[in-house]
C-alpha cells in the first residue's frame, strides 16, 4: 500500500473546520434524502418493497452501521471510482466493495477551492468530500481504486490521493483490439494481487466462481426489473434508479433478494393494473452524465412530478441501468478463462463515451436505439452536467441517429445547484407537452 505523503493538492483543514463541515454535510444530506424520498412516496401505487431501498438510501443509517461493524472486526472496505472495477475480486477476497460517487451539492463548493469551476461537479464534489472527510462511505474506505476513464475522474482521484491510498487502473480507450484486451487483462491480474495483499486472503478459483455466481444473480435481478419497465408503468423511474444505485454500497446478495421481491410485487401490480401513472404518460429515456443520489434527483423529480408528467422508463446511466447489467460469461472454469471473463465484462460491453474506435462509440448508439425500440420510448432527455465533455460531445451523433427515427430529444445541461430548477421546469414541461401533442398527432395519422 502506498503511504500518504505530504498533501499535493488539498489544503489542510483544522479539526474544528472539519467538524463543522461534517455536521453541515450530515444535516444537508439527511434533509435532501428525506425530501426526495418524500417526493417519491407521493407516487401513487408505490411498491411496498421500496421501503427497504429507502432505508439503504440513508447514508447515515443501517448500512453504514453494518459496514462499521465489519470494519471493527478487521474487515476491509475497498472503494472504487467507476464501474470498471471488478467487484468479483473484492467479494472473493471477503472485502466490501463500495462505489464512490458524489451526488452531493454542498461539497462541490468546497471543491472549488482546489479545482476550477469548469471541472465537472461530480469530481469537484468528490474532492470536497475528500477534504473534510464528511462522507461516511468514503471515510471507511481502506483504499480507493481509480480506473482512469474520463479526465475528471482521473485527476479527481489524484487529488484524493492526499487523503487516501489510491490504486490507479489504466483503462484502454480503444477496447476491442487484441492488445487492449491483453493490456486490460494484465491490469486485472495486478489488481487481483493487490487485493490479495491488502486483505491477506488468496482469491482462489472457487472464490472467483462463487463471486461470479453472486454477481450473475444480481445481474439477473437487475435485468428482471428492467424488463418489467418495458411494459405498463408499474414503477417510477426514480424508484428504479434508486434500486440500481443502492447496489453501489448494499450487500449485493441482500440487494438481489430484495430486488427480486420488488419484481414479484411489480408483476402482481401489472396484473392488477395498479399503475404509477396513466398509461398515456410520455415514456422518457434518460441518458448522458450520471444522475447520482440524492441531490441529482432534481431532474427526475421535475420530469415525474411535473405537469404534464413524464415517466422515465429507461435510462442509460453508469449510475443506473448499466451498473450491473452486463454479465460475466465464463466458458470454462479454469482460472485463465474466469480472469478473462471478468476482465472483458467490465470493459467490452461498456458504453461509456470515454471509449472510441474506428467507428466511434457505435455501441452506445446501437444500445440507445435498441432501448428506444424495446421500451417504446416517446422522447429522450440527454442529461449533461456542465463540464462532462465526453457526454456533451456525443450528443450530436445521437441527435443525428434519432432524427432518422423521428424521436424528439431534449438536451438538458445543468449544474450542481438548485438555482436552475425553475428554468429546467419550464423547458421540461414544454418538451413533455410537445411529446403529448406529437403522440396525439401520430395517433391521428
Amino acid at each position: 500500500m502506498n503511504k500518504i505523503k505530504d498533501a499535493k493538492y488539498l489544503p489542510s483543514l483544522s479539526a474544528e473546520e472539519k467538524d463543522e463541515q461534517q455536521k453541515a454535510f450530515k444535516v444537508s444530506v439527511q434533509n435532501s434524502v428525506a425530501e426526495n424520498i418524500e417526493k417519491m412516496k407521493k407516487v401513487p401505487n408505490r411498491p411496498k418493497a421500496m421501503e427497504y431501498f429507502d432505508q439503504i438510501a440513508d447514508f447515515f443509517g443501517q448500512r453504514e452501521k453494518e459496514i462499521r461493524d465489519v470494519k471493527a472486526q478487521g474487515g476491509k472496505v475497498i472503494g472504487y471510482g467507476c464501474m470498471f472495477v471488478p467487484i468479483e475480486f473484492i467479494i472473493a477476497a471477503g472485502a466490501i466493495p463500495i462505489r464512490i460517487d458524489s451526488g452531493f451539492y454542498s461539497p462541490a463548493k468546497l471543491g472549488d477551492q482546489v479545482v476550477p469551476v469548469e471541472v465537472c461537479p461530480v469530481v469537484r464534489s468528490m474532492i470536497g468530500l475528500g477534504m473534510a472527510n464528511q462522507y461516511p462511505y468514503l471515510e471507511m474506505c481502506d483504499v480507493l481504486i481509480s480506473p482512469n476513464t474520463c479526465d475528471g475522474k482521473t485527476k479527481g482521484f489524484e487529488v484524493l490521493n492526499d487523503s487516501f491510498p489510491i490504486w490507479e487502473m489504466n483503462v484502454p480507450r480503444i477496447k476491442d483490439s487484441d492488445h487492449a484486451k491483453k493490456f486490460w487483462l494484465d491490469q486485472i491480474k495486478e489488481l487481483k494481487e493487490k487485493i490479495e495483499k491488502l486483505t491477506g486472503k488468496k482469491i482462489t478459483g472457487k472464490g472467483m466462481r462463487d463471486a461470479i455466481e453472486i454477481t450473475l444473480k444480481a445481474t439477473g435481478a437487475s435485468r428482471r426489473l428492467q424488463d418489467l419497465r418495458k411494459g405498463p408503468p408499474v414503477i417510477s423511474g426514480r424508484d428504479a434508479m434508486l434500486v440500481d444505485q443502492m447496489s453501489f454500497f448494499d450487500d449485493i446478495q441482500r440487494w438481489t433478494e430484495k430486488t427480486n421481491l420488488l419484481c414479484d410485487e411489480l408483476e402482481k401490480k401489472a396484473k392488477e393494473k395498479l399503475y404509477v401513472a396513466a398509461e398515456t404518460t410520455p415514456r422518457i429515456l434518460m441518458t448522458g452524465s450520471p444522475i447520482i443520489w440524492p441531490d441529482c434527483w432534481k431532474v427526475p423529480n421535475l420530469i415525474e412530478d411535473g405537469k404534464p408528467q413524464g415517466l422515465i422508463v429507461a435510462d442509460e446511466f453508469c449510475s443506473g441501468m448499466r451498473v450491473i447489467y452486463d454479465a460475466v460469461g465464463v466458458d470454462e472454469t479454469t482460472n485463465n478463462d474466469m480472469l478473462s471473463a471478468i476482465a472483458e465484462r467490465y470493459v467490452m460491453p461498456c458504453t461509456c463515451p470515454c471509449f472510441t474506435s474506428e467507428e466511434g462509440n457505435k455501441d452506445r448508439m446501437d444500445k440507445l436505439e435498441t432501448l428506444i425500440k424495446d421500451y417504446k420510448i416517446n422522447g429522450v432527455v440527454y442529461h449533461v452536467i456542465r463540464g462532462c465533455h465526453l457526454y456533451a460531445m456525443e450528443y450530436m451523433r445521437l441527435k443525428r441517429v434519432l432524427e432518422k427515427t423521428n424521436i424528439p430529444m431534449y438536451y438538458l445541461d445543468t449544474e450542481y445547484s438548485r438555482e436552475d430548477s425553475g428554468q429546467i421546469k419550464t423547458r421540461m414541461e414544454a418538451f413533455l407537452e410537445m411529446l403529448i401533442t406529437k403522440t396525439e398527432n401520430d395517433d391521428l395519422y
Binding site: 474487515g75 467479494i91 472473493a92 477476497a93 471477503g94 472485502a95 476491442d176 484486451k181 486472503k201 478459483g205 472457487k206 472464490g207 466462481r209 462463487d210 463471486a211 461470479i212 455466481e213 453472486i214 450473475l216 444473480k217 445481474t219 439477473g220 435485468r223 446478495q253 433478494e257 452486463d326 454479465a327 460475466v328 460469461g329 465464463v330 466458458d331 470454462e332 472454469t333 479454469t334 482460472n335 485463465n336 478463462d337 478473462s340 471473463a341 472483458e344 465484462r345 467490452m348 460491453p349 458504453t351 457505435k362 455501441d363 446501437d366 444500445k367 436505439e369 435498441t370
Partner: protein, 331 residues
Amino acid sequence: MLKITRWKLVSQILSFLIIVYLGYLGIRMVQWHNFILVLPTLSCHFLDQRIANCFIYVVQDLLGSGWKDKYTTLIFPIICFVILGVIFGRAWCSWVCPIGFIQDLSTRLRKYLKISHYSLSEDLKKASVYSKWFFVIYLIIISVGIGIPHFFLKAYQYDLILPFCQICPGKQIYTMLGGRFSQVLRVDTITTLTAVMGYLAVASFIFYVVTTAFIRRMWCRLCPMAIFLGYLNKISFLSLRKEGKRCTKCGICLRSCPVQVKEVYEEKEKERIDPSTCILCYRCVEMCPEKDALKIGFLKSTIAPSTYTRFLKSTAVKITKGKRRMPVEQN
C-alpha cells in the same frame, strides 16, 4: 431444455452409435439401386460394417477409377452431399461427426481437469485454412493421377490409393472403434512409399491426439470436408443469425467459440453470420446474455434465440438456487 450443448450431446451420441455401430447390427449401406448414401461427415471405410460412405472417401475412390466413365459416377455422391450440406451446413461437423464428438469429449475431460485451452493466433488460423486447401489439392491430384493410364503415378496406385484416407486420423480411430487393434498404427514397410505413408499416418494421429487435448476442435479446422461444407454454410437452411443492434460486443461469443470465429463478434450489419470456419455448434447462441441478439435460424424461422436465462443455464459457473455463503465466511 435451454441448454443447446445438451441437445448437441444427445445428437452426437446418437449419431456416433448410428454411424459407427449400426452397421454391426445388420443394417448395411443405405442405398437406392446402385447409389450408396454419402454423408458429409466422417463415416469411415476403415470400418467393416457401416451404413454410409464418407464423402471424401467416395471422391478419392471415384476419381482414382473414374477415367474410363469420364467421372460421371461422381454425380450422385455430389448431389447427395450438396443436398445434405445445403440443409444443415457445417452443423454436420458439430452435431454429427464422430471425430468431432471425440474432440468434444476430450474438451470435456480437459475442462474437468481444469487445464486451460490454447487459442490459435490469427496467423495460425490463416495457416489452418491454407492447410485445408493443401489437403484438398493433394487428394485430388493424387487420386486423379493414379487413375490415368500410362501416367507415371499409375505405377504407384496400390501405394497411393485413397491418399487422404491413408493419413486421416480417422483411419486409426475407426480401426480402433471397429476392434481391430492389431492394425492400429501399423506401418507397412514393403516399399519406401508405403513406409512414408505409414509414418505420415502415425504422425497425423499423434498430431490429432496432442492438439485435441489442448486446442478445441483443432481437426475441424484442417479437415478437407470443411472446405466444401464451408461454402454450403453460406446458403444452408440452418443458420446463425444476429441482430447487430442488440449486440453489446461483450466478447463472450468470441471467447466461447470452439473454432474462434471472429465474425460472430465483429459483425454488426449483416444478419446472417456464415463464415466458412463456423461449425454451427451454437455455443455462442447459448452463451449470449443479450435477448434475441443471436439466434438459431432455419430458413426464415427462428428455432431458438439467445436469452439471459439460457445464458445462466449454459455458463460454466453453476447457478445454485438461494443465497450463496459469501466467500468471506469460508476463509
